[in-house]
């Protein structure tokens, strides 16, 4: 049997804080009492130093564990909240993932179905080239305070590696329709959406377009609606998936958890996030119908293979759900989204201009966290250096690249600084030693007094270091996150 294109691996990333919808509603009840209808559950929120790029990097790392990164032919990043309008955002992800320069990168944007469209393209590309393609999707959503979207949305990222060979799910077919149905829009240069009436969107848009397209698509794929085991509809509104399933003839029990109660609608990333969640529990020979909705829709029908049972079970979304940290600090959320102008003090005014020349020269060390290893002694150092800090011998050309991002670290010392400016005080930083060598001074991410201690293991995470607010340039670097103690 000829090898078919399909999914080789998947990954996901959900930021650890879960803003309680009741806390959002409590702030707005005086103004928008109707929001009480959706003030249940929680939504994932990116920390101040996370955006669509950093979350995509984490999802990508989750996906690529054990995969030879040199085999990847291309990387796409789907999002409608990319930090740069003209600087390939996927290119920054490529540097952080330490992929070889000889790889194609592409930003895919402009619609909530950007990720499913990119996934279809990638599957077609792999059919032509037979080389793996990495599809990433991430969204750090921005909504106006007191809007329904503010409660329903969530921040997350997901990754799917497609290719040939031992796929865990093969593609049975894909289908797209394009219809300029303007349920909401965001003009170029704007940060907030403008939405039309939700009842019209539900009835004329989601239910009508999806119901019809799914029925047509399944007919074309040669699959009966009742044979779908998991129907993945990334729409958070109550009742929509039920109505779509009914219209298309799919079984009600095939409707997959849309993660609305626990993470929120992560926009363009949501279809891939739901796919990662479903694959985490799927058995062999299940049929998954993945849907992307936005000015039309995309359908992808996957069927899991025996390989999914053979490979070690991975459940990144379930793990993220288990480890969310409830958060009731709505003001902090507003501040981190730039929607509340707190007095930050003069220390926040520090110059953050990034010389492009310096970043280019050091891009592998800065964006890829690549240190150097002395080929004679095996000693590792970061930042990479020409002369060994251990021997002091000035012998040129004896150091080789040594990636550190995926090596665990151990906290040597740390501090809790209440003087230095941080958007999320206090600022935690200190010194870590990497397993296998190398020492580094680091800022800590996702840290609290209860999670940080000398000797604690930490893992490196790609984060925003600072933002040059004068020139609107985001600076990225790696931080160390204390690893949760096993329960």
């Amino acid at each position: 049997m000829a090898e078919e294109a399909g999914i080789l691996a998947f990954g996901a990333y959900v930021p650890q804080r879960r803003l309680q919808r009741a806390a959002i509603f409590a702030a707005h009840a005086w103004f928008a009492p109707a929001l009480g209808n959706v003030a249940h559950g929680e939504r994932a929120i990116a920390d101040w130093d996370e955006d669509s790029i950093t979350m995509a990097v984490e999802a990508g790392r989750d996906c690529l564990g054990g995969i030879n990164r040199a085999t990847i032919a291309s990387l796409s990043l789907a999002s409608t909240t990319l930090p740069f309008a003209d600087r390939q955002n996927a290119g920054i992800v490529k540097e952080a993932l330490n992929l070889p320069d000889a790889v194609g990168v592409l930003d895919v944007t402009g619609s909530q179905r950007a990720a499913t469209s990119a996934l279809i393209q990638a599957l077609q590309a792999t059919a032509a080239t037979r080389r793996p393609q990495l599809c990433l999707a991430a969204e750090r959503r921005q909504a106006r305070p007191a809007s329904e979207a503010e409660l329903l949305q969530g921040d997350a990222a997901a990754a799917v590696l497609v290719g040939h060979g031992d796929v865990i799910a093969r593609l049975r077919g894909s289908h797209s329709v394009s219809i300029d149905f303007v349920d909401h829009f965001r003009a170029a240069g704007e940060t907030l959406d403008y939405a039309w009436e939700s009842r019209w969107i539900r009835d004329e848009g989601q239910i009508a377009i999806l119901g019809k397209t799914i029925a047509e698509g399944l007919k074309a794929f040669g699959v009966k609606p009742g044979e779908i085991d998991r129907l993945l509809i990334p729409i958070p509104h109550r009742g929509v998936a039920d109505a779509v399933a009914r219209t298309a003839g799919c079984r009600a029990e095939s409707i997959a958890d849309n993660l609305a109660a626990t993470i929120g609608d992560s926009g363009a990333a949501h279809p891939l996030l739901m796919l990662a969640h479903a694959l985490g529990t799927a058995r062999a020979r299940e049929r998954l119908l993945l849907v992307g909705f936005g000015q039309g829709c995309d359908l992808l029908l996957f069927e899991t293979t025996a390989a999914i049972a053979r490979t070690p079970r991975r459940t990144p979304v379930a793990e993220a759900l288990a480890h969310g940290q409830p958060d009731e600090n709505y003001l902090r959320f507003l501040f981190h989204r730039g929607l509340l102008g707190l007095e930050r003090g003069m220390r926040a005014e520090a110059e953050q201009k990034q010389p492009g020349t310096t970043l280019y020269r050091h891009r592998r060390a800065v964006l890829g966290l690549v240190g150097s290893r002395d080929t004679r002694t095996g000693a590792v150092q970061y930042p990479p250096a020409e002369i060994s800090v251990h021997t002091g011998e000035a012998t040129a050309g004896t150091h080789e690249d040594y990636p550190l991002a995926d090596r665990p670290g151990r906290i040597v010392s740390y501090t809790t600084d209440r003087l230095a400016y941080s958007p999320s005080p206090p600022l935690f930083y200190g010194v870590i030693d990497f397993e296998g060598g190398g020492r580094m001074s680091v800022e800590f991410a996702d840290a609290g007094s209860e999670s940080i201690a000398v000797g604690r293991t930490c893992r490196m995470m790609f984060r925003i270091k600072a933002v040059d607010e004068l020139r609107h340039f985001t600076k990225y670097f790696w931080k160390a996150a204390p690893v949760r103690r096993p329960a």
């Binding site: 040597v412 010194v431 600076k475």
Partner: protein, 399 residues
């Protein structure tokens, strides 16, 4: 083989401006204030100064680049003026330049002046500044208290000192310096404080509270140096000479090699060892009369007692609590109030420490004069942070 600096250079005169929040004075006024005192003490005129070194750390918010601001303020006519910067150890670095010039025979009389005008930033604490285009991309955006708080954490861990015990020892350091500073008319902070005030102060960077941190001050200090022969020819009867002068800078070993445990200052240990050898000191705790150390934070002073081989490693905190370094203790430290209370105008601090030791050696320290009169004083001037530091140790004494 190098023979060292011992007794080859004498201090002809010293001066120090009043430290503090000098809203009334700019860098120029502070420099002139310190220099006028030194010049009168030396008994010479400006034309006799043949070379000058200026130390300043935050030049951008201060006097600007180069040695020209010093030459201009003091109207030093047609001589070489060099600006030096080595973090908070800059003051001793300027002194080293002047002393080496005299020892080398390149100048008969040389000037070292340190100045810092810190209170033009608009906020408390040290200004935020760049560490260069490369380190800014990967360095930590921390503060000085945060960096030295790690020293406290590592010291506690290494020597199994309970937090409460260390807090008490650190508080003792600050209470002692406030008591000393109260007797110093030029000091920035002149109010005695009690232990509870220190222990109950807000935390700046765990475990360092407000009173574990030194003052951020404006100020200037100055030394005029020459050879012992010229000093005597100019009528000086009692001479203070340089016994040792050592500066050591980190090469990345602490921050990159995974061998240092964070509980001490490597550069201080090396600089102290070399300085004692240069000065011929074998039993520092008995031979030294007084200490001025870099107490940017209380924990730094405590750990420095070990790094200078005054206290046994791991026992500095008990020596502190025993009162060893109090004004009436066996080896007084910071008789002038130290960085904690005299204040810390960065570029001036190393020279300010030398100024206090100089006054004490000559019996000119007024109500805080140590009796019997000291014969040998050590100053320890530290720059940077524990992970990357510059340590300067200077020992001066009666000839």
């Amino acid at each position: 083989m190098a023979t060292g600096i011992r007794d080859r250079v004498a201090i002809l005169g010293m001066g120090c401006a009043r430290f503090g929040e000098r809203w009334d004075a700019g860098a120029e006024q502070l420099m002139v204030e310190a220099y006028s005192e030194a010049l009168a003490d030396a008994g010479i005129g400006t034309p006799q100064i043949e070379a000058a070194w200026l130390s300043v750390a935050f030049d951008a918010i201060n006097i600007g680049p180069s040695g020209i601001p010093l030459a201009t303020a003091l109207r030093l006519k047609d001589i070489g003026v060099t600006k030096v910067e080595n973090y908070c150890a800059s003051g001793t670095e300027a002194f080293r330049g002047a002393v080496y010039a005299v020892a080398a025979g390149a100048a008969d009389i040389a000037l070292a002046l340190g100045v810092e005008k810190l209170k033009d930033t608009g906020y408390a604490g040290l200004p935020v500044r760049s560490r260069g285009t490369t380190l800014d991309m990967i360095g930590v955006s921390g503060s000085a208290p945060g960096n030295f708080a790690q020293l406290a954490a590592a010291y506690s861990a290494e020597h199994r000192v309970q937090r409460a015990d260390l807090k008490r020892a650190m508080a003792h350091v600050s209470v002692k310096s406030h008591a000393n500073g109260a007797k110093n008319p030029k000091a920035h902070l002149r109010k005695p404080i009690d232990l509870d005030t220190v222990l109950n102060a807000p935390i700046i960077a765990e475990p360092l509270g407000l009173y574990d941190c030194c003052g951020v001050s404006d100020g200037a200090a100055c030394a005029i140096v020459t050879t012992p022969e010229i000093a005597r020819a100019l009528g000086k009867r009692e001479l203070v000479t340089v016994k040792a002068l050592q500066v050591v800078a980190s090469n990345g070993w602490e921050s990159q090699a995974s061998e240092w445990n964070g509980s001490y200052l490597h550069t201080t240990r090396v600089a102290a060892t070399r300085a004692y050898a240069e000065a011929g000191i074998t039993r520092p705790r008995e031979q030294l009369s007084l200490l001025e150390v870099h107490d940017c934070f209380s924990i730094t002073e405590l750990v420095t007692m070990e790094d200078l081989y005054i206290s046994e490693v791991g026992r500095g905190w008990t020596d502190v609590l025993d009162g060893t370094f109090d004004a009436d203790g066996a080896l007084p430290c910071q008789l002038d109030g130290g960085l904690k209370c005299f204040g810390h105008p960065i570029g001036a601090s190393g020279l300010r420490m030398l100024y206090e030791n100089y006054l004490q050696l000559l019996g000119r320290a007024g109500p805080r004069q140590r009796r019997p009169a000291p014969t040998l004083g050590l100053s320890h001037n530290l720059g940077g942070m524990p992970t990357q530091s510059v340590s300067a140790v200077a020992i001066i004494g009666l000839a």
